[in-house]
């Protein structure tokens, strides 16, 4: 689900330039499936699918797989179009040290939205 982040947020991308000072280990959970995303200097440098035995991360973003699927639609429906919309309705949870996430909130919103397909013209 998140493998494409290396392409959309990797070194040299516009997203990487947006968050130059950011270094964080971000755990993305879709139901029981875990993916560890490592960001260095604003660039996604690693996307490792789980399962993990002893994962170490700064911040985790968790939602049921179905809610991620709704979020990642080209035009997501109301209530699923933004991470805070998911938080508002109790479908998403932020855990850990939230500072990297909140200090770079726009970056994370755009990074996750970069996985959406282009809307049909």
């Amino acid at each position: 689900m998140f493998a494409d982040l290396m392409r959309t947020g990797g070194e040299g991308t516009a997203l990487a330039r947006r968050a130059r000072g950011l270094c964080a280990r971000v755990m993305l959970r879709a139901g029981a499936d875990e993916t560890l995303v490592i960001v260095q200097g604003g660039a996604v440098v690693s996307v490792q699918p789980g399962p993990f035995v002893m994962p170490s991360w700064d911040v985790a973003i968790s939602a049921p797989a179905e809610d991620w699927r709704l979020f990642l639609q080209a035009v997501p429906p109301p209530g699923s179009h933004d991470v805070m919309a998911l938080v508002r309705r109790g479908a998403m949870r932020f855990e850990g040290n939230l500072h990297p996430l909140m200090a770079n909130l726009m970056y994370f919103k755009l990074l996750l939205a970069s996985l959406r397909p282009e809307p049909a013209a």
């Binding site: 035009v75 997501p76 109301p78 209530g79 179009h81 933004d82 991470v83 805070m84 919309a85 938080v87 508002r88 309705r89 939230l98 500072h99 909140m102 200090a103 770079n104 909130l105 726009m106 919103k109």
Partner: protein, 279 residues
């Protein structure tokens, strides 16, 4: 150069005994239509309305920047105060602006916190207004995140406020208007958005007061965008049902309809203004 028909001016008035230098923009002639911006933003949100010849032909459209917002600075000597907007203070502010501009039976239209304060106005001073319009208006929004993140030294306030505003808009709204809207938030003063949300989530809670509104004394119109998760369509529906009035769902719009997708919003607003004029 194309010059817009909007004029901006500063006025000096007292609000709750404190002197203020307040900025407002206006255009048009006719029925006064006072527009209230959202938390943490300013009157630029109403730029399309102020530029719409059909509406300004029949209405004197006025949009002021609340104190601490846009070009309205804090009252002298208060810049370092811990800012918290209250229901009493917000009502006093709107009435002071109406008095200072000598608005006779204006229509007041507010969005979000402005959509909440029209409820307080309907309860307390319905005789003062020809009609009230609440956009993204609900009786309450229980806190769903820690607003402390909006004002702390290790997080850029403009960046995070802009990011919060961004998510409240519809994914289908035009990118240029979305960017304009979040830029207003990125320019907000430190702690202002959080201070406004104190009214929105705590002091302005209207749930126990809905029954005190008599819509026969002052018509109340409610319009809400479907993508808003702060004041959701369900929130507005519950309010409308409690008041026994209808409401308008605006598909494809979010929390800032007049700013994120002005033309789509105006299509919903025009019939409301027609009904108000005809009444």
């Amino acid at each position: 150069m194309k010059i817009e028909p909007i004029t901006g001016r500063y006025g000096h008035l007292e609000i709750e005994g404190r002197p203020h230098r307040l900025y407002w923009e206006e255009a048009g002639e006719g029925i006064p239509l006072l527009c209230l911006h959202t938390a943490g933003a300013d009157g630029r949100q109403w730029r399309a309305l102020l530029n719409d010849p059909e509406i300004t032909r029949r209405h004197r459209v006025i949009a002021y920047d609340m104190p601490r917002h846009g070009k309205s600075s804090p009252a002298p000597g208060t810049v370092d105060e811990d800012y918290r907007l209250t229901a009493d203070g917000y009502v006093a502010q709107v009435l002071a602006v109406c008095d200072a501009l000598e608005l006779e039976k204006p229509v007041v239209m507010g969005c979000s916190i402005g959509g909440r304060v029209v409820l307080h106005l309907a309860e307390r001073r319905p005789e003062r207004f020809r009609a009230l319009i609440g956009l993204q208006s609900g009786a309450a929004v229980p806190p769903y995140y820690d607003t402390g993140w909006l004002h702390r030294p290790d997080v850029h306030g403009g960046e995070i406020c802009g990011a919060f505003a961004y998510g409240l808009m519809a994914p289908t709204s035009p990118a240029a208007e979305v960017d304009e809207t979040r830029w207003h938030y990125m320019q907000g003063g430190p702690g202002v958005f959080r201070g406004d949300l104190f009214y929105y989530t705590v002091d302005g809670d209207f749930r126990d007061r809905v029954a005190r509104i008599d819509v026969a004394k002052c018509p109340l119109h409610l319009l809400t965008g479907e993508y808003d998760y702060s004041c959701s369509p369900q929130d507005t529906r519950a309010l409308a049902e409690a008041l026994g009035i209808g409401w308008t769902l605006m598909p494809g719009l979010g929390h800032f309809p007049m700013s994120e997708n002005p033309q789509a919003f105006l299509a919903h607003l025009r019939p409301v203004l027609e009904r108000i004029r005809a009444a």
